[in-house]
Every structure is written in structure tokens, then in C-alpha cells.
């Protein structure tokens, strides 16, 4: 219904309703199409078109100079224009203020929508970036976890390797603070890793094993340092260590790894090999010499025997016939011989020759090797027989015998038999028992003279099986005076003896060595040091003799 001013309340209501509805429409195109369609009902209007401008410059939009064109602008930003095709201006013009008001409101709504869209775009972009970053982080975390897991596995693997190595392995920094401590280190020192790590090396490791100055020097020079055969303890229990310092360079940190290897067995084996080589060489030489000496010696002894016969036996026809032809009295010749001790000299030549022959015979045994007499024997039986024989045969100064010492036998049960020459093995054992008894009794006498506390002679005899190497092991351990390192190294050499001249030829242990090592393909060694007793170790193989 038209008002006094020519305005229709219905049209005013329509414009007002549009203002209420447009806020609920989703976007500029929807809003403008809704409004332009609605404004066609304004009196005088033939058609209404809209354009979305999105111009930053209001003045440019107005340059179009379209008649009854209304720009929908918020501040300097124009969102759209409404272009009216008006055929009855007088009917249209009264509604212009309402239309302008609608345009102002549209400007605000469109700006809000634009801001919302911008915010929505920004939020979407932000959301996408957050999601991408989240995915990246998840990937990164996954990769890091994987890497960490791999690292842990590798560390455990390396730790296991380091712990299972048969070496003491210690890591230190340049200040000498322990950074690594493996299982062997724990076993050697009795100190757990958590107690050793972070402490100074000198607090956790025996000082005899390392030289801090050398470690620092090695770290700074970058050159490895090796120290061999450090001896710990003494006597038969002496141990050997090989210590190596490896400098490490890790970026800015200078560290070192100290590797300590127990080379006691290796050193012993090296000694055995050296001893064996030396003994084989000496044995060969001795046997060769004996063989060369044997023939002239036989000639000498035979000649000396003939000479004795011709000078002593007066009844021999040949002697009588030659004396008669020369007009000599055999009785006077014999008196001369006796007065000049020539006959005694001949006896001494024969005695010396016999003794020399014994030596030569012994020396020839170095080369005498035969398996014909090898039979299966229980080593414990052989040893027990020797001990029984020693009890009845040997008597030393002051009538001492094996019955006067403490004897401990530690025989492993159910030992297999070995193939051996019974007589030769008994010869070896008897020789060791006899030597041991002699030295212990002499040592006992010495201790009594010098008032040294001595618990008295004792033997410990152990027989066991080395299952891994398939050897039977015989240990004869006395608590006598022991021997120096020099003596220990030469004890098996032919003609080497610690006894006074004339008390022994120095061949007993050499022959024993050859019987065990050469004839029976076993090995024999001695562990001893002064005042620590002596232990002979004989190992005989269980396999067949060929």
C-alpha cells in the first residue's frame, strides 16, 4: 500500500526482509543474486543486475557512470555494484534512500563474508600446514624411534661383542676418566661397571698395569702403544699381560681404549715351543756326537783291555814266548808295572772308558725312538709302581726316604688308559721323584741350619684328563727350594746340572724330556721360582702311536 510519500510498505518490508535474510546466505554471489532478484519488485524498476567487483579503488568503480548504479563498498574496498534499469524514475526515487541503506548493510555483510572467507582460507592453510607438520613430525618421530631402536640394537650388539671378547677393554678420556668398562674388566678387578665409570683410572685399575703418562702421550700423539709381557704375581702362578693403548679421535674429544690381554698361556706355549726346538736341536747334536765318539771309544777301551791282558796275564803263552826271545823276566816287568802304578792307570782308563760309554749310551737314547714296546697302561698304576719302587730303592742322607715326606695323590677317577712304553714312563717319573726328594731333603737340612721355617718335604701328584685336548695330565709338585728363572729355562738341556761336579751327568731331565716330547709326542714343562717349589707338568696324548 503506497504511503503519503509514495512509498509502498510492502516494498519497504521486502527491503527490510532482505536485510534480515542476506546475513544467512553463504557467499557474495548468493547474496547479490538474492538481492538483485528481490529489488526487481521496487516500483519503477524494470531490471536489476549485479556485478562482483573486488576492487581496491572506489573511484575507479564509479567511473563507469552507470545511471542508478550503486557501489557496495566498505571503506576503500568495493565488493559489488547494483545496476538498476529504471523506467519510471518518479516511482523509483523515493526508495533510493532505502536502497542505499541496504547497500551499506550489504557492504558490511560482504566484508564480513570476505573476512570469513579469508579467515577460512587462512585457517584451512594453517590447518593444512599443521596437519602436514604433524605428519612430518610423526614421520620424524617414527624415523627417530626406528633410528634409536637401530642404535640401541647396534649398541647392544657392540656391547655384547665387547663383553664377550677375551680381553679387558677400558675406555678413558684424556683426563684419565673411565668411559667404558667391559665384563672382563669387572672379572679382573671385581669392580662392576657402574662403580668404575666416571672414576679416574688410577682408582680402579692396579697401577702396575698402566702408565698414565704413556696413555696421555698416546692420545696426544695419535699413535698406539703396546707393552708386552707384564708379569703379575710370582712363582709358578706368574701371569703375563699384553697391554695396548689405542688412541681415539672423536670430533673434539680425545679418548683412548686400553686393551689388556691375558697372554700367560701364549707365553707358556711360546716357551714350550722354544724349549722344544732347542731340545730337539741339542738332542740331535748330542746323539750325533755320541755316535761319533762311540767307535773311537770302543777302540780305546778294547786296546786298553788288550794292554792289561798282555801286562797282567803272565801265564799267556804269547807273553812268555816274546819275553823269552828278548831275555826278559816277566816277573820283573810286572814288579816294575806295579811299582809305577801302570796297572792301576790301565784300570782307571777302563773305568773312565766304561763311564764314557754309559754317557754315550744315554746320549744315543735321544735318537732312539721305537713304538714297538707301546702298550695300553693306566698312568695311575705306573705312577703308583714308581712310588713303591722309590720307597724301597732310594735312601738319602740320614737314611731319609720317600716314606719321610707328605705325599698327596689327587687322581681323577675313571681315567682312560694311554699307549706308552711302560719302562720309559716309569724312568721319567722315577727321575722326577728322585730329583724332587734330593732337593727337598737338602732344602730341609739347609732350613734347619739357617733356622728357616719349613713345613717339611711334600709331594702332590695329580693325574687328570684334559677332555678338550684329549691329553692325560700328570703334575708332580714338590715344595722344595724351587729354581731361578735362568735354571728353569735351562733345566732340560743335556749336561746342565745344579748338582756338584761328579754328582750327576745332567742328562736325567734331558732324557725324560725326550721320552715325553719326542718318543711319546706329549709335552713337558716346569713351573718354578725360588722358594716356591717346583711343578713338573707332563701331558701325554690319548691317541694311537703311529
Amino acid at each position: 500500500m503506497p504511503s503519503d510519500k509514495g512509498l509502498s510498505s510492502k516494498v519497504i518490508g521486502q527491503i527490510a526482509l532482505m536485510q534480515g535474510v542476506v546475513a544467512h546466505l553463504p557467499h557474495a554471489n548468493s547474496i547479490m543474486s538474492f538481492v538483485s532478484r528481490g529489488l526487481r519488485d521496487v516500483p519503477g524498476v524494470n531490471d536489476v543486475q549485479y556485478k562482483l567487483l573486488f576492487s581496491q579503488n572506489q573511484s575507479e568503480a564509479t567511473k563507469k557512470e552507470i545511471y542508478y548504479s550503486y557501489l557496495i563498498c566498505h571503506n576503500d574496498l568495493c565488493h559489488a555494484s547494483l545496476d538498476f534499469d529504471v523506467d519510471k524514475t518518479e516511482l523509483f526515487l523515493p526508495y533510493v534512500p532505502y536502497i542505499k541503506n541496504l547497500c551499506n548493510m550489504l557492504a558490511i555483510i560482504l566484508e564480513e563474508k570476505r573476512q570469513k572467507e579469508l579467515n577460512k582460507d587462512l585457517m584451512e592453510q594453517l590447518e593444512k600446514r599443521v596437519q602436514q607438520r604433524t605428519r612430518d613430525l610423526q614421520d620424524e618421530i617414527r624415523e627417530r624411534r626406528l633410528a634409536q631402536s637401530e642404535l640401541t640394537r647396534a649398541q647392544n650388539f657392540i656391547s655384547n661383542i665387547i663383553d664377550s671378547m677375551p680381553y679387558v677393554l677400558i675406555g678413558v678420556d684424556s683426563a684419565g676418566v673411565v668411559t667404558h668398562w667391559n665384563k672382563r674388566s669387572e672379572n679382573m678387578t671385581g669392580l662392576k661397571a657402574d662403580k668404575a665409570l666416571g672414576r679416574k683410572l688410577g682408582e680402579v685399575l692396579p697401577s702396575m698395569l698402566f702408565d698414565m703418562e704413556q696413555i696421555v702421550s698416546s692420545i696426544h700423539s695419535g699413535r698406539p702403544y703396546r707393552k708386552r709381557k707384564v708379569i703379575l704375581g710370582g712363582g709358578a702362578e706368574r701371569e703375563h699381560r699384553e697391554i695396548t693403548i689405542y688412541p681415539l679421535k672423536d670430533f673434539d674429544h680425545n679418548n683412548a681404549v686400553i686393551l689388556i690381554e691375558d697372554v700367560t698361556e701364549r707365553v707358556k706355549m711360546e716357551e714350550v715351543v722354544i724349549q722344544s726346538d732347542k731340545m730337539m736341536s741339542l738332542g740331535g747334536l748330542a746323539a750325533g756326537m755320541a755316535h761319533e765318539i762311540n767307535n773311537p771309544l770302543a777302540g780305546m777301551m778294547q786296546t786298553a783291555g788288550v794292554m792289561a791282558d798282555r801286562l797282567k796275564n803272565l801265564e799267556m803263552p804269547a807273553n812268555q814266548r816274546v819275553a823269552d826271545s828278548l831275555g826278559l823276566s816277566l816277573d820283573l816287568v810286572r814288579q816294575y808295572m806295579e811299582k809305577r802304578d801302570i796297572l792301576k792307570m790301565l784300570d782307571r782308563i777302563q773305568e773312565s772308558g766304561k763311564r764314557t760309554a754309559d754317557i754315550v749310551y744315554s746320549m744315543l737314547s735321544f735318537a732312539r725312538k721305537s713304538t714297538e714296546s707301546f702298550q695300553s697302561h693306566d698312568l695311575t698304576d705306573l705312577v703308583d709302581k714308581v712310588l713303591a719302587l722309590a720307597g724301597s730303592s732310594f735312601s738319602f742322607k740320614n737314611h731319609l726316604s720317600i716314606k719321610d715326606i707328605r705325599l698327596t695323590k689327587e687322581y681323577e677317577s675313571h681315567l682312560p688308559q694311554i699307549l706308552c712304553d711302560e719302562g720309559k714312563i716309569q724312568q721319567v717319573v722315577l727321575n722326577l721323584i728322585k730329583n724332587g726328594l734330593e732337593s727337598m731333603f737338602e732344602y730341609q737340612e739347609l732350613c734347619e741350619e739357617k733356622d728357616i721355617n719349613y713345613e717339611g718335604p711334600s709331594f702332590t701328584i695329580r693325574i687328570s684328563q684334559e677332555k678338550i685336548n684329549q691329553f692325560i695330565r700328570l703334575e708332580i709338585h714338590d715344595n722344595g727350594p724351587g729354581m731361578s728363572e735362568e735354571t728353569r729355562k735351562r733345566i732340560f738341556e743335556p749336561f746342565y746340572s745344579t748338582k756338584p761336579l761328579g754328582k750327576g751327568m745332567g742328562l736325567g731331565l734331558s732324557i725324560s724330556y725326550f721320552i715325553i716330547c719326542d718318543h711319546h709326542r706329549g709335552n713337558m714343562r716346569v713351573e718354578s721360582s725360588p722358594e716356591q717349589g717346583t711343578k713338573f707338568i707332563i701331558r701325554l696324548p690319548l691317541g694311537d702311536k703311529d
Partner: protein, 206 residues
């Protein structure tokens, strides 16, 4: 025209005459669903027979909603208090939009409601943009105008939901012209764009 009596829509405090034909333009689905649920709940409470055509609100969803108000959906469905169906299934049978068939359904629903003794009938339905593609879709405004005409004699309270995100502004404006009432800012208003069906049909329908 029947004697008017007022009814509650559920989603507004205002009461409207039974037989109101209202357009509800929405942009958020929760707004649509909220109005639909409250409209149906309100009808069940005041014993009006209700029908709902929606592609987006299922029977399960409604069952759950009504149970929160101590109403058992299946019992009420059994009693024919409520009827739900997909909008496309109802509007676009055989991929065709047929205003005559739809008006026949509405007429039948009204008559049946009356015969069963209900105080009134109400219908809520959402229109889908599928209408612009199916055969007969161009007759949407004719249909809406004829609904307005029919409701004058056979008052069924009808709410038509239109998604502003799926229809352009011009279409929304045209739709407003065939609905006598509409919701603006939560209030039911007389639609100043409304064209009486007699005028609309005579000018726009050949």
C-alpha cells in the same frame, strides 16, 4: 477456509496457525536437523500426526533423539503418529518430480489424519538441488504455490527446508515468493515477497 487454531512449531516460541506454509532457509546442517527434530517432537507431544521427508536425518537418529524425551519412536511409528522417508524417495519417484502426485499424497495424508482422529497434521521436508536436474523440476515453484493454495482448504502445517549453500540466491528469492511465512533470525515473519497462489499461478503457470 477452515477455522484457524494455533499450533507450536517446536523450534520457535511463536505459535502459528495450523496450515502454515513456511520456508526455512538454512546454511548449517545442525540448524536444519535441530528444527526438524524439534518440529517432530512438538507434533508428537501435542498429538498431531507428523510426516518427515529428509535425506539427512535417519530413523535411527530420530529414535535416539526421541528416547531422550521418553518417547519410543517405534511405538509411535506403529501407531502411525509419525512417518519418515527419504526426501528423494518421496519427491523424485521414477526420477521425476510430479506436483500432482505430491499434492495427492499431501491430500491423502490430510484426509487419513482426519479420519484417524488426530487434531492436526504436520509435514517437514527438505528440498534437494537434485530438483534442478530431474524431469518436472522446473515445476517446483508451481508446486509450492499450489501447496499454499491447498492448505487454505486442507490445513496441514508444512515446513520447507532449503539449503542456501546448494541453491543460488535468485532461486531462494523465487522460493520465498511462494511461501507465505518464513523464518528470519529465529522469528516467524509474514513474507512480504509472497505472491498469493491465485496470482502466482495465473501469471507464472501456463
Amino acid at each position: 477456509m477452515c477455522e484457524q487454531h494455533l499450533t507450536s512449531l517446536g523450534f520457535t516460541d511463536q505459535e502459528v496457525p495450523v496450515g502454515t506454509h513456511m520456508c526455512l532457509v538454512f546454511t548449517e546442517d545442525e540448524e536444519r536437523a535441530d528444527c526438524l527434530r524439534k518440529f517432530l517432537l512438538s507434533g508428537l507431544k501435542i498429538k498431531e500426526r507428523s510426516a518427515c521427508f529428509s535425506n539427512h536425518t535417519s530413523e535411527n537418529e530420530m529414535r535416539s533423539f526421541l528416547s531422550q524425551h521418553d518417547i519410543t519412536y517405534d511405538d509411535r511409528k506403529e501407531k502411525q503418529d509419525i512417518f519418515m522417508s527419504g526426501a528423494s524417495d518421496v519427491y523424485f519417484q521414477d526420477n521425476t518430480f510430479d506436483p500432482d502426485r505430491m499434492l495427492g499424497l499431501l491430500d491423502h495424508f490430510y484426509q487419513e489424519t482426519k479420519d484417524l482422529g488426530y487434531s492436526a497434521a504436520r509435514v517437514i521436508g527438505e528440498m534437494n538441488p537434485e530438483i534442478e536436474k530431474v524431469k518436472g523440476g522446473e515445476r517446483l515453484l508451481e508446486y509450492e504455490s499450489r501447496v499454499s493454495l491447498m492448505l487454505k482448504e486442507k490445513p496441514v502445517t508444512a515446513i520447507c527446508q532449503y539449503n542456501a549453500n546448494l541453491f543460488d540466491g535468485a532461486t531462494i528469492m523465487e522460493v520465498l515468493k511462494v511461501h507465505p511465512q518464513m523464518m528470519v533470525n529465529g522469528a516467524v515473519v509474514e513474507n512480504p515477497f509472497f505472491i498469493e497462489p491465485e496470482d502466482y499461478l495465473s501469471h507464472h503457470v501456463t
